[in-house]
Amino acid sequence: MKFKKVLALSVIGACQLLTLSSIQAADKVKVGFVSTLSGPSAALGVDIRDAFQLAVKLNGGKLGGLPAEVIVSDDQFKPDVAKEQFEKMVKREKVDFLTGVVFSNIMLAALPETNESGTFYLSPNAAPSPMAGKECSANFFAVAWPNDAYHEAAGQYATNKGFKSAYLLAPNYQAGQDSLAGFKRYYKGKVVNEVYTKLGQLDYAAELAEVRAAKPEILYTFLPGGMGVNFIKQFMASGLAKETKLIVPGFGADQDIIRGVGADMLGVFDTSHWGMDLPNAANKKFVAEFEKEYKRLPTLYASQGYDTAMLIDAAVKASNGNLSDKDLVRKNLMEAKFASVRGDFKFNTNHYPIQNYYVREVVKDAQGRLVNKIIGQPIMTNHGDAYVQDCKMK
């Protein structure tokens, strides 16, 4: 009995020593990247990661003049796994910046791991409304958009077009709730029903049957990733497209959805803060390099990953590599003096962006590929968010 115990303990002890991490070197930037890289919605995390790594590569493997080490790990679409990964990044790898998470629920579960160390978290995607307002944090920066934004733009678009009745559908998590709240804030027509599905749900037969019974003029759904692919395929298969018009935020119509659904996407309208055809120099370079490196067109998620890397680059450069001076780095992150692929970039006092939003349509480009084309003038300009007044940071 005793022998067994000692043997086991020695084995355990030896194993622990085997997993010694590398000694941390100074004079480099360590970035922890935790995202959804597997499962039906992996395309989103993969795009953010690929674009982030492309930016670093185009910078000669550096960020802000310092050699960059990007440690990537998969949250497997599970909040508990993300939490573990965050803990490792913060406590074991002692990263300077943490980024990557796609989904709001996963990020909210894992983010508390950064509280003790005060590690900066730059979100390349999820930006829940509570963190824009009451729960705003000095170390949290939303690089993409506030969660509500695309949906507010869509609501405005639906109002402008005079659609009388709308049926709303979103997954039952923070971003889903933010999405429909955002849509309703700007949509002046009648909301026939507001339905929340299970996050990750893939079979929408029941929900589609209910939509058919309700007969709304438009159907607005926020279903990112694999959920969206399945929903749109089933929507088209059910024949509902003839009775009800589908409007989606950019998440529901970008390249990942187009790849999954196919030709049925032609003619769908969506809203976004970015499009491949935005005419600024940074964007032209980004789109060309991304396609060259990865042999596919970038999604809005990729544009966000790229922007996050460029923001870190600018902040580190402005801080002269002085990463231990957190206040200096924070100030430079706030100033965000970098050339964003979306055009002008500005943070609000709550560290959420103020920017334009556009309406896009899925059309065929010159090579016959399905792409999103920006239609007309921005539907919202210099738009912030509805929660900034609740934030204590000024």
Binding site: G39, A42, N172, Y196, L202, R212, A213, Q234, A237, G239
Partner: protein, 305 residues
């Protein structure tokens, strides 16, 4: 809430129930005849789905791929039975549970290593549109094909079990194994064939359901538990019990999920109603099992003597 809606949901329940039946029938036969709890049954369902999604890249034909995947899965199942599972027949239930749990871990990771965590699979294009089965009721043609397939296989299974010699052996083995052996039935060959049949049925369900759900690692775990509930309700060893149980569970689960939120929305905010609906539906399934066990402790159509 209209009659059309309820009817559509009833059809969805039937569709899900029939696929559940494919899993449950194999499971109940294995449990009934070999007295073995096989948690890895869900993994066979997953393997069937992955094989179909993989083969379709070469054949470009959905149903041909399903056919090939079913054969391959069945062969794999029989191989598994002859090498590993055989040794578990004599062991106690806990060892079977743990060994097949280990098997799930191994199979899940093996699939991940070969194909990654998920593969895309779409229904064939000619089935991607709806069919008007009744005035005002448009239903997905692919789902109709699933229902038809399920009913056809149920009929074939019934004929097999009740009309053929092999079926008689199966029923004898389920009822009293030692007696069946004493009567000279080649029990080893029978076990292997039954397992192979169960694996084939799993593969059909996995392949057919994949365009609706997703081909992903771990897809077997959730449906496996429901299959166990079904066979407990239906009675271990009874294919007819598995059929009745599957339809019951399929309908309670599907209709509960879709219709309960309507009820809850009357007095709960939409986020709560949407969360409570599916949860209560799932709980109802287990309550159903508890009630059946209370009235008939051996299940509705128990075969064991």
């Amino acid at each position: 809430m209209t009659g059309i809606l309820i009817l559509e949901q009833a059809l969805n329940g039937l569709q899900f129930g029939l696929m559940l039946f494919l899993l449950a029938s194999g499971l109940t036969l294995v449990f009934g005849i070999m007295d073995m709890i096989n948690l890895a049954h869900g993994a066979l369902y997953m393997i069937g789905a992955f094989l179909t999604a993989w083969i379709v890249q070469f054949t470009q034909s959905f149903f041909l791929s399903v056919f090939l995947a079913v054969i391959l899965t069945s062969l794999f199942g029989m191989l598994l039975e002859k090498t590993l599972l055989k040794t578990l027949y004599a062991r106690d239930h806990m060892s079977q549970v743990l060994a097949t749990f280990a098997l799930i871990l191994i199979l899940n990771e093996s699939v991940k290593m070969i194909w990654g965590t998920d593969l895309p699979l779409s229904a064939p294009d000619y089935l991607s549109g709806p069919v008007e089965i009744m005035p005002g009721l448009m239903y997905s043609s692919y789902r109709l094909v699933i229902i038809a397939t399920g009913l056809l296989i149920a009929l074939l299974l019934y004929l097999l079990v009740s009309q053929t010699k092999m079926g008689a052996w199966v029923r004898a083995g389920a009822s009293n194994r030692s007696m069946a052996m004493a009567m000279g039935i080649n029990i080893n060959a029978l076990f292997t064939s039954v397992f192979g049949l169960g694996a084939a049925l799993c593969a059909v369900a996995g392949a057919m359901l994949s365009p609706l759900l997703a081909v992903q690692v771990g897809m077997g775990e959730n449906i496996l538990i429901l299959a166990f509930v079904v066979i407990v309700i239906g009675g271990i060893g009874s294919v007819w019990g598995a059929f009745v149980g599957s339809i019951l569970v399929g309908c309670v689960d599907t209709m509960g999920r879709s219709l309960l939120p309507f009820l809850f929305r009357e007095f709960l905010p939409p986020q709560w109603a949407s969360a409570a609906g599916p949860a209560v539906a799932s709980i109802l399934v287990y309550v159903l099992m508890a009630v059946v066990l209370f009235i008939k402790p051996q299940g509705l159509f128990n075969q064991r003597s």
